[in-house]
Symmetry: C2
Subunit: 530 residues, 2 copies
């Protein structure tokens, strides 16, 4: 089954667990309710890794995951084939007793999901629940109580209705069994518990369909049932939902693949593990412990641009473009021993149809692209006489230098490293813009400079004061083109930024230290002469 | 049409405006994405009107309206009949250029909507936009610029794609016209503007279907088109969306009816007028200016409980119960001249089907219940010889004392008054709980007291310290029953709260003033004697 619905999740869970434990690697993707909490959280080419983490942490704290894709890849050496099981989960933080999540949504993000046919009804009506460790603890404490007071008026009303029905039935004294219609999920657990607590002469059972059986029982039978009562465990199991999958994933310690996956990783951490730590370094350590082997296909594609271009398939690091290129006839067969990549029968709509930005499909594409890129690079320079196709392990050896490196968009660095030092910036030096003292220049603001400069490529602007601006350009070409274009501009003067010359702090420090030096010299001189 | 979709809204607007301007009264209802922002915002029997306003203001600031129902009632004297036009609008804050709303949702509120078959796809895909005054100003400023930079990456991408297509078409030089597929709504305006700004040799036109025509034009033609260009006005008109309806409503100054409508009113004010003011008094003044004549059917039903019970139809102030009772054969025909209430042909699904918590249906029910109650009370005591049915105006005269009084749930008062002083509390005196000094009492907390006391009715608890608690009870019966039940309890001692005896602040003041008096007396005494 590709789409995993709320009601069938727990049934499917053992299969998903087995597949993950038995696989070569897992590819993931998420869709979420918002991308950016406020103007202040917008990504900027000035961002250091710490700064970017701080922005994303705020964003992840407010929005939620509405869909997760998990594609499990397993190599069958005999047929030189990868089998793929893709699961597409809608997620929704169902309320239960004292848990009632508030989450934010961003209008433009919902519209983005609309463009890709996202089904908001599946999200709310069918979404699988999940808990982080704090929520789990809170719920556990609640479930340890004898009675489970429902906090929301809504669930309380439904429970109350059932209690009244049973109370009436008992006082009528008719029959030994009563069938109550009861929705699946949280409310059903609450109804079971409320009836069992309130009416000591009955016990409650689930039917195969959507009902609860209330049965009059003897005191001995009741005691017996109470002893084997596992309602609290089942409620917790239900509410943990997708968190089970994440835990299986972290326990299995399999390589995890994604495309441009920093936000995905932060969301999974923040929503199903624990609140994101304040310190970036702590986050990196924790995440590396959770997922000790990560590959980001956007980073790999960007790094391998040159060698991959030699195969003539790649011009872009956009996931869909990569997939289209690498799943074309040429992409599949231009090198020896290209493995087949075959979705399981249940997921075959991913073979014949394109579903971009459906998390299940995106995770499938990421895994697909990962295998194709790994194979291309592994086979590069290997003679045609190579008798057998490489094992999956070999791919990991070849791609080792990309391990734990996660792509970062529009920042001072283009990736971070989860298991070591982050790289130094490979962006061009900042530009330093000075507006001339003329009246015409006085009306120019940073938005206008940004608009003018963006004709040469991506830029971000930081105003220093009314007349001075810092500009971070995306590429060396862009920076050079701007310098060239404004070489003899009448109002806008552009140079490379020079810390010694342009930073007021440095200049202040410099003058202070010169002053101190002069004083020091004078002192020495005077001392010697006195 | 009952359901008003995004694409047909502006077409339907003139009809809606005419009906509102021509009607006797309008009934409204809203559904929203959350009910309560946090634990601290939960309604409590301790709440004063100011305190409740403060809580609701926080809530309204975060959540949004996802559906509004507007039912327009018009009396046809000739047939003693009310004609009703009900409109059910899904609302969604579409993003446009620099507007990109973030809003909160509450899990349990979404689940409540699920129980009533709310269609989340209609909400996001079909929701009509709306703006408050601040957003309108911001957008107007944006639209006054020559170019309209799209802020969201998403809209920008779509605009960029169209620009590239046109650029290619122009450089190919083929034909004088190009048809571009373009989605309706905000992006289409952005595409028009981008193409017109970037390519001075063309002008753009809308087709009847989902396309934009790009046509090569002469300089004269271009100038002519520029002069009559109303793109910015049309974009603003589109984005104002449902706000047009609200403005029509406030300008028409017709009586507005709702059921338990405080949150509805605050949401309409906060989302389509301006941010809710900090001061409660200011809010009341503003709201009364917007809607000078308001009737809340929950308040009326609660106040008329006795006289209405004489007719034997009413036991509850729940909207659906009221509607069921008053639309029964008995409810309709037990008094003389009962008017017919007839939904327009387009809305006839509201006659034969029940759609509780669909805003359109709830607004229809509220209006229906309003007429039936008003008629019952108007005809009370009027002899059977009364020759003609009363006019609508007469209803308003009879119900005058309920005008501008809005129901408040679970607070110290049961309603507020928008056009005057709020009423004094009609709740029982607070109870004062003291735990005895025994070891067994030490483990009792406020949650446990709340649970025990709630067997006697609705209560709220405020802990004063580990051993003392204030209790606000919903009714006099409840307070008395608690006092009686705990008269000789071993651990929990309950009395009525006595400010002079129990308030520490008052006691401290009292002792201070006694001290001051004693000193004063001593001083006087000493003065006299010295």
């Amino acid at each position: 089954m590709c789409d995993v619905k709320r009601d069938e999740f727990l049934q499917l869970l053992p299969e998903i667990r087995d597949r993950i434990q038995d696989c070569d690697f897992v590819a993931i993707d998420t869709e979420f309710t918002g991308l950016c909490l406020s103007e202040a959280c917008q990504p900027s080419l000035f961002d250091t890794p710490q700064e970017r983490y701080r922005k994303l942490r705020q964003t992840v704290g407010s929005f939620i995951v509405c869909q997760v894709g998990v594609s499990v890849f397993k190599k069958d050496m005999k047929y030189n084939r990868f089998d793929v099981w893709s699961y597409n989960f809608h997620l929704f933080p169902q309320s239960f007793a004292n848990l009632d999540v508030r989450f934010s949504c961003q209008a433009s993000s919902f519209e983005f999901l609309c463009q890709h046919n996202f089904d908001f009804n599946k999200f709310v009506y069918e979404g699988v629940p999940y808990l982080d460790q704090e929520q789990e603890k809170l719920l556990r404490k609640h479930l340890d109580q004898t009675s489970w007071p429902a906090s929301g008026g809504n669930q309380q009303d439904q429970v109350q209705l059932c209690c009244s029905t049973v109370s009436q039935w008992l006082s009528n004294g008719s029959g030994t069994e009563l069938n109550l219609p009861a929705p699946k999920g949280p409310v059903r657990f609450l109804i079971h518990r409320a009836l069992r607590t309130r009416f000591p002469e009955v016990w409650t059972y689930d039917t195969a369909d959507s009902q609860i059986i209330v049965r009059k029982v003897s005191q001995e039978k009741r005691k017996e049932e109470e002893e084997k009562d596992d309602l609290a465990d089942r409620a917790l199991e239900y509410m943990l939902g997708f968190t089970h999958v994440l835990r299986t994933l972290t326990q299995a310690r399999k390589p995890v693949v994604g495309h441009n996956m920093l936000m995905d990783l932060m969301l999974l951490y923040g929503k199903m593990y624990k609140p994101l730590p304040e310190k970036y370094a702590q986050f990196k350590r924790d995440l590396h412990q959770l997922f000790p082997c990560i590959y980001d296909t956007k980073h790999i594609a960007a790094e391998l641009k040159k060698p991959l271009a030699e195969f003539g398939v790649l011009q872009s690091s956009v996931l869909q473009d990569l997939y289209d290129a690498l799943s074309s006839h040429k992409g599949k067969f231009m090198v020896l021993h290209s493995p087949a990549i075959v979705p399981a029968a249940e997921c075959d709509r991913y073979i014949n149809e394109s579903h971009p930005h459906e998390a299940g499909y995106d995770s499938y594409m990421a895994g697909y692209v990962f295998i194709r890129m790994a194979h291309l690079i592994t086979m590069q320079g290997i003679s045609k006489q190579q008798p057998v196709p490489p094992r999956f392990r070999r791919y990991l050896e070849v791609l080792r230098r990309f391990q734990d490196k996660v792509n970062v968009i529009r920042a001072s660095i283009d990736h971070i490293c989860l298991s070591g030092e982050d790289p130094v910036s490979r962006r061009p030096q900042w530009l330093y813009v000075t507006l001339t003292q003329s009246r015409a220049a006085r009306t120019i603001n940073s938005a206008q400079i940004a608009e003018q400069f963006s004709a040469y490529g991506s830029v971000d602007i930081q105003p220093l004061d009314a007349n001075h601006f810092l500009v971070a350009a995306h590429s060396f070409y862009c920076a050079k083109d701007i310098l060239r274009a404004y070489r003899s501009h009448k109002l806008i003067h552009v140079t490379y930024y020079n810390m010694w010359k342009h930073s007021r702090t440095v200049q202040a420090l410099l003058w202070t230290s010169i002053g101190v030096s002069v004083l020091g010299i004078a002192w020495t001189f005077l001392g010697k002469n006195s």
